[in-house]
């Protein structure tokens, strides 16, 4: 029987209640610091912040629709090779947890000194939209307004669409978390259920001494409805993207706004190589090479290798793509990168029966093989 406690909400609202929970966690949960989205200054934006002073938690706001970057790589930095014995709690969205689990499999982080606190994710805005929505007036009030609109089923909470990735997200619950803040279906004027989701999570929850909750009423129903709606939107997105990129000419047109800035690669939480091949001189050519290509083909677009870059990145990490959408968020020219990557990832992950971020025990497909697989490719019995 899973342990379920509750965070009571008073008239100061759900964000203050979650701050109170994080203070309790710092005091009694056996963690030395909390990584949580926090407002930087009264009028600043929201960034992941590592907080060890309970006073500083007054600025914490993990419920905000801000999602400036996928924090998986930050958690990786806080956990990789840690020998200090000190523990961190990280408050993360489900896609951040999935990305972190992928990084752990690639030896870029560890689960030993981190307590993963997952949000039932209400979705997020693009950075551009959040700058307009979130930075006016009392920031915590803005978050509350956003949550009310989401709970009320509004398609444009706060007058803004959710980010494209969130509208097609079929994983709005943090399956891999130790503790889950059960926002889906919760009455945010009264209480947020906290679910112990692993043995470690339950142990911490017991120490916190929160009031027990009878369960998380309405959560399953709200989650199922949201998942069904997003899955339908996702499938429509797959179909539209596949149609637009069904040929190389179509793909070139799809990517025609790309200026080879590689922001999508920088923003990608699972693109972890320290030295990306596209930053080396492997694809630097002599002037004659470009002129030769131009003469051979009649014309060559510069910068060159745009489609090559995206195809190579798809080959390297589409099996690990968790669909967080930060590639699109980072694109200065609104290239729908997330849609392309998710559409191809659906195929490549499907080919190996792989779901990234589901479990640290599932090896990434390109790191393992079986002798008795894909025998039709070579026509041999092995």
């Amino acid at each position: 029987m899973a342990t379920i406690a509750r965070i009571d909400i008073d008239e100061t609202g759900p964000v203050r209640a979650v701050q109170g929970f994080l203070k309790t966690l710092l005091a009694r949960g056996g963690v030395d610091a909390v990584l949580t989205p926090a407002h930087l200054v009264p009028a600043g934006t929201v960034m992941p912040t590592l907080i060890s002073d309970p006073e500083a938690l007054e600025r914490a706001d993990p419920l905000s629709p801000a999602f400036p970057l996928n924090a998986a790589r930050l958690v990786s930095r806080l956990t990789r090779g840690s020998t200090s014995g000190r523990h961190v709690a990280a408050v993360l969205r489900p896609c951040e947890i999935r990305a972190f689990i992928e990084l752990v499999k690639l030896n870029q982080g560890g689960l030993d000194n981190v307590l993963l606190i997952g949000l039932d994710c209400p979705g997020a805005m693009t950075n551009a939209d959040f700058r307009v929505f979130g930075l006016e007036g009392d920031p915590l009030e803005r978050t509350r307004e956003f949550l009310r609109a989401v709970a009320g089923g509004e398609s444009r909470p706060g007058g803004r669409s959710l980010a494209g990735a969130c509208r097609v997200c079929e994983h709005p619950a943090p399956e891999g978390a130790d503790l889950i803040l059960g926002l889906h279906g919760a009455d945010l004027d009264r209480a947020i259920p906290v679910l112990g989701n692993t043995a470690r999570g339950e142990g911490v929850l017991t120490r916190l001494g929160l009031p027990d909750a009878p369960g998380a009423p309405g959560r399953r129903e709200a989650l199922d409805a949201l998942t069904a709606r997003n899955t339908a939107a996702r499938d429509a997105m797959f179909e539209a993207t596949a149609a637009r990129t069904a040929s190389l000419a179509g793909l070139a047109e799809y990517l025609s706004g790309c200026v080879n800035c590689y922001n999508c690669r920088v923003a990608c939480p699972v693109c972890y190589c320290k030295e990306c091949v596209f930053l080396t001189d492997v694809f630097d050519y002599k002037p004659d090479q470009y002129l030769g290509w131009a003469r051979k083909r009649g014309a060559i677009k510069l910068p060159a290798d745009t489609v090559f870059f995206h195809l190579t990145r798809l080959a390297h990490m589409s099996t690990a793509c968790v669909g967080c959408g930060q590639c699109s968020n980072a694109c200065p020219n609104d290239v729908p990168v997330m849609e392309l990557f998710r559409t191809v990832a659906e195929r490549t992950q499907g080919a190996f029966g792989y779901q990234p971020g589901r479990s640290p025990d599932e090896a990434p497909p390109m790191t393992v093989f079986r002798e008795d697989e894909f025998s039709e490719m070579t026509g041999e019995a092995h």
Binding site: S247, T312, R347, F369
Partner: protein
């Protein structure tokens, strides 16, 4: 009208398929001249980006060919290559690149006959399939 002559780039492993190709040559077996061999130490070191590069540069097909199961000089590079080729076939099919344009075979060092036959069959297959679209897209 002259018949379409496909260009095929073949990544072959030093220990098996390259040796088979050499045997086919020294045995004077008749082979089409459409295949450009690139000798690798193992098919397990064929990075997907080499294959993507070849196809985007206008190769009509890519052949990856290594040792039979159990014969890999590096124990299991051929199995790793198989996963990568599978991944690329899935990926490239999305963009209208026929999966037949990326072929994986296992040809042992003594199988010069097999090499000559595989190459001849592949050339015929790709000739029937027609040129790779990348040849016509100047803005890649």
């Amino acid at each position: 009208m002259s018949q379409f002559e496909p260009t095929i780039v073949a990544f072959v492993c030093n220990w098996c398929t390259y040796t088979a190709a050499d045997l086919a040559g020294t045995s004077r077996m008749l082979q089409p001249y459409n295949v450009k061999l690139i000798r690798m130490m193992c098919t397990g070191m064929v990075d997907p980006k080499y294959i993507i590069r070849a196809l985007l540069s206008g190769a009509d097909a890519v052949l990856v060919s290594g040792c039979h199961p159990g014969d890999c000089h590096y124990i299991n590079g051929n199995y790793k290559a198989r996963r990568r080729v599978k991944l690329l076939q899935e990926m490239l099919a999305q963009f209208g690149i026929d999966q037949r344009r990326l072929k994986l075979t296992w040809i042992g060092a003594s199988e010069g006959n097999d090499f000559a036959r595989t190459v001849a069959e592949l050339v015929e297959e790709i000739r029937a399939l027609g040129p790779n679209e990348a040849r016509a897209v100047a803005t890649l």
